[in-house]
Symmetry: C2
Subunit: 233 residues, 2 copies
């Protein structure tokens, strides 16, 4: 049976490699979409939109490979859990790519206009989101539960940034009605980043689940940090 175990281990390594590859592309898409917003770079936006297709194909390929591994190796318990989680993480990464693409798309109409202060807030929020995404990919690769819990606890920071940006944008829209169309785009960009933060948190939950074999805990209140006791419970 040693041969089968080794083959399965190789399968898992391959699945992990696919996740890492998808994660790397996701980081690239998010980072480039923020550049689009900052530099109002419409050519780069088109690159992001095009590159997102590669991510979609990677998800399909990962899913097919996981289904094949399940069918061939018929894993149970922890091994099955890792494979199911891999499929869910791939689906989450695909959504993050979609949201990044959407940010890049929304940067195109922005390019004619300028509103520096909100843009700066949004890009700052985006950079924080990108850090969380990179961290959670590292947590997944290293099966690092402590890092996963830390990321899970930090999502409220992104929520708070989103709330502040929302108020800021409404203020500008009220002051100058010519900014309403652009303001709506900026709100959706901020909302997309907030959702990327949520998805990152979901990946952190899956890392916890893979390692500990149980869910991270009940949903914590939005916009405030969960107590550590609550998580460890």
């Amino acid at each position: 049976m040693a041969h089968i175990v080794t083959a399965f281990d190789e399968d898992l390594v391959q699945v992990q490699a696919r996740i890492s590859e998808m994660g790397g592309l996701c980081e690239e898409l998010l980072s480039k979409s923020l550049e689009c917003v900052q530099a109002r770079d419409t050519d780069l936006a088109r690159v992001v939109i095009e590159r997102d297709r590669a991510l979609d194909l990677m998800e399909v390929a990962l899913e097919e490979s996981v289904v094949k591994v399940i069918a061939l190796r018929q894993p149970v318990a922890a091994d099955l859990r890792v494979l199911i989680a891999a499929m869910k993480i791939a689906s989450t990464l695909e959504r993050i790519g979609d949201l990044s693409k959407n940010i890049a798309k929304r940067a195109i109409p922005l390019s004619a206009a300028t509103h520096g202060r909100v843009t700066t807030s949004i890009v700052r929020m985006g950079r924080q989101t990108l850090v969380q995404l990179s961290d959670v990919l590292n947590a997944h690769a290293a099966r690092d539960v402590d890092l996963a819990v830390q990321i899970w606890n930090q999502d409220y920071e992104i929520d708070e940034m989103y709330n502040a940006i929302f108020r800021e944008v409404v203020t500008y829209m009220v002051e100058d009605s010519r900014l309403i169309g652009m303001g709506a785009q900026l709100m959706f960009i901020a909302k997309n980043l907030e959702r990327i933060g949520d998805h990152t948190t979901h990946i952190a939950e899956m890392v916890y689940y893979i390692v500990r074999g149980k869910p991270i805990g009940e949903e914590r209140p939005k916009g405030e940090p969960a107590g550590v006791d609550f998580i460890r419970a």
Copy 2:
């Protein structure tokens, strides 16, 4: 082996029953969230928010049961495909529930204000979304590929309604800056409905995949119907 086949068939029936139950609750949540928007009913909004938790628990239960069935019965090919699809559909339904809950939440601050015409457009869009959701649940239960393809082709209608509402809301915001805060809420409600439409389309894709064993086709252009030739290709 007849015993094992029968037991597996029973498992599939149970999984299907869970999907139907989740789907029913999703329809209820979406329908009630539209009532919240229409009647500005904050008590009902709180009911929706509370009920969504039941949907989350149903998803966890379904996922656990699917993992158990895979581990116990070790299905391959079409059977494995059905189970994987069930898990993805459950995850999609959970997201639809989340979006409905979010609509109900956003209806609470709306309740102090009124803006009848946009509300009517949004509720109309919501009713169309609800019809698509009910149809896709029927298509799934009956493994009806033709209905799934039809739903898949109709998503552009919801996209067009969304675009019209977006423009309408911006117009009101420009005319009267006191409506900006409320307008932003209405935009997000419409956006949530558009996303529910997208999720419904994903379920239609999964129905196609379950029955035909291959994806429904490449992504069609947004905001316009795909040609039937394109889908059949």
